[in-house]
Subunit: 318 residues, 2 copies
């Protein structure tokens, strides 16, 4: 299958779902019409075979995840997704694999009304790069540098399930299907992110592990955080497979959760969340800590004793 055949295949399935796409796949570049007065939010993430997903992962799951991790970045900025481009490197031009990939990719794109407008296909080791574009009102983007002393720290959904599935997979034993689903098919918190825009003081998505990601917020905002490791949501489904300390480690340092971790002004939590319509998104949010003067994340257990993980999050070149 030649490159141009693959591109035609992709183009045929990339439905025109948006009026602001003047020219999609098929020219030297895409032509897009940004909405007047809005800021453009752009993120780009790559998944490599055997690094970001286990070799042999189903094509549809790779497609879903490649878009999900990018939409999660837009969610963490409070942006409304709009367009994406896709670069697929394939060891061969297997059309069945590409069809499967598009099944997953386009299913998630349709959920968020994202148009696939361009990119390329190349020969090379299996790798997927995606660039996503979204919009946000000026001044309302959720940044990492806005956390203030006294703010409460919150997180969406549950933490640790993806890392737990990966640990089971590496251990060679059976993988809990519920955990596996969270690893394979993360749900970017786009609606919650949009609800928090202009309300939360800082936000980040939990991709490298909570401690590492919260550490980025601390550095960018010039603050510290006291974290209650026993308050982290989602521990229940881990406890049937892991002991208490492993659960804490998976939740605090495991990556691939794609939940939103955000800060809210002190005292105004319930009011702020209600005003943001966050409750209407159907995603549970949990308070897990407090912003303090100083630097770095200090994790304490339920009894207030310092808790230290073996490692502080996932680094690709660590």
């Amino acid at each position: 299958m030649a490159e141009f055949g693959l591109i035609d295949r992709i183009r045929a399935r990339a439905a025109q779902v948006r009026d602001d796409v003047v020219l999609g796949i098929g020219d030297d570049a895409a032509l897009l019409q940004p909405p007047p007065g809005m800021q453009l939010v752009v993120s780009m993430d790559t998944l490599n075979d055997g690094v970001h997903f286990p070799a042999g992962t189903g094509a549809a799951l790779v497609g879903w995840k490649a878009l999900a991790v990018n939409l999660s970045d837009l969610a963490a900025m409070g942006a409304e997704p709009a367009w994406c481009t896709l670069s697929l490197s394939l060891p061969d031009g297997d059309p069945a694999w590409v069809d499967g990939f598009l099944d997953g990719f386009l299913a998630l794109a349709a959920q968020h009304r994202v148009a696939l407008v361009g990119g390329d296909t190349t020969r090379g080791p299996l790798s997927v790069s995606v660039t996503v574009h979204g919009f946000v009102d000026p001044g309302r983007a959720l940044r990492r540098d806005g956390a203030r002393v006294g703010d409460a720290v919150w997180v969406s959904g549950g933490l640790g399930a993806a890392a737990a599935a990966l640990a089971q997979w590496r251990g060679g034993g059976p993988i809990d299907p519920g955990l596996r689903e969270r690893l394979d098919r993360p749900c970017p918190r786009v609606r919650l992110g949009r609800a928090l825009a202009g309300v939360a003081t800082a936000c980040i998505d939990v991709s490298d592990g909570l401690l590492a990601d919260l550490g980025h917020v601390c550095v960018a905002s010039g603050v510290g955080v006291v974290l209650d490791v026993d308050a982290l949501p989602g521990a229940g489904m881990l406890r049937t497979h892991f002991d208490a300390d492993a659960v804490r480690r998976l939740q605090a340092t495991g990556g691939d959760d794609y939940e939103l971790c955000f800060t809210l002004p002190a005292g105004a939590d319930a009011v702020a969340l209600a005003a943001a319509g966050a409750a209407a998104t159907g995603i549970e949010v949990t308070r897990i800590g407090t912003v303090v003067a100083g630097q770095g994340v200090r994790a304490l257990d339920r009894e207030g004793r310092p808790w230290r993980p073996d490692s502080a999050g996932h680094e690709h070149f660590a």
Copy 2:
């Protein structure tokens, strides 16, 4: 070297050169302010080690080329470049390689006032994905679908030098430095493209080989082209190394030229080019054919005899 160390290294060198970058490298996504009323032009291209450049190519040359091929796509749309994102997959996190890569990448970025605003670094086989963003006035973008019967076909600069260098490299003999330079350091025709916006009826950049790329214009525009293979510019520097037929083949089917091939309304050539200020760009342009009714590219030699290449351009999965 950890991932975050690499990102800090890149961020430190990605100077803030544009007021429209609200937030660059260092958050979940970049925040950008598009100019009012303009259309956004987006392209994404990936270079893989050993596929798009010979294994062992110097880091600075990889960096230059990775941005050049993307800017060439913006040039082919008549767009003004503005922002880019970069995804680097590296087998290891060698900081010296990354520094060299940035030398080439940022030198070209500075020439065109392009800001590097985001992306990521991952572990994997050496691969570089770049997404570029530019602007164009509504209705003035150069598309592939506007060529009309009677239009003249033009090309910028010279053709075949990059393919000639690659042929010499594959042959194992010495490589002509002048040819090598064209392979290693293509110059995207950004100024010419902008001068042609709203003037040329169609445009494409010559990346896969002239016949293949002109074929795309024919399909998109629903026309045919009669091409004078002996009028192709740049043959002089090839003739010292290759016979007449090899020269034609290199020029008509060799890839990696990154020249612009465009069509102009019949009779208005000189007037149109002058009005566009194309002459002021300092890049020679040459008339090489005519748009006709029908389909496909018909190549003729100086005597009007049909000329056929061995293959019609480069396809990554051919």
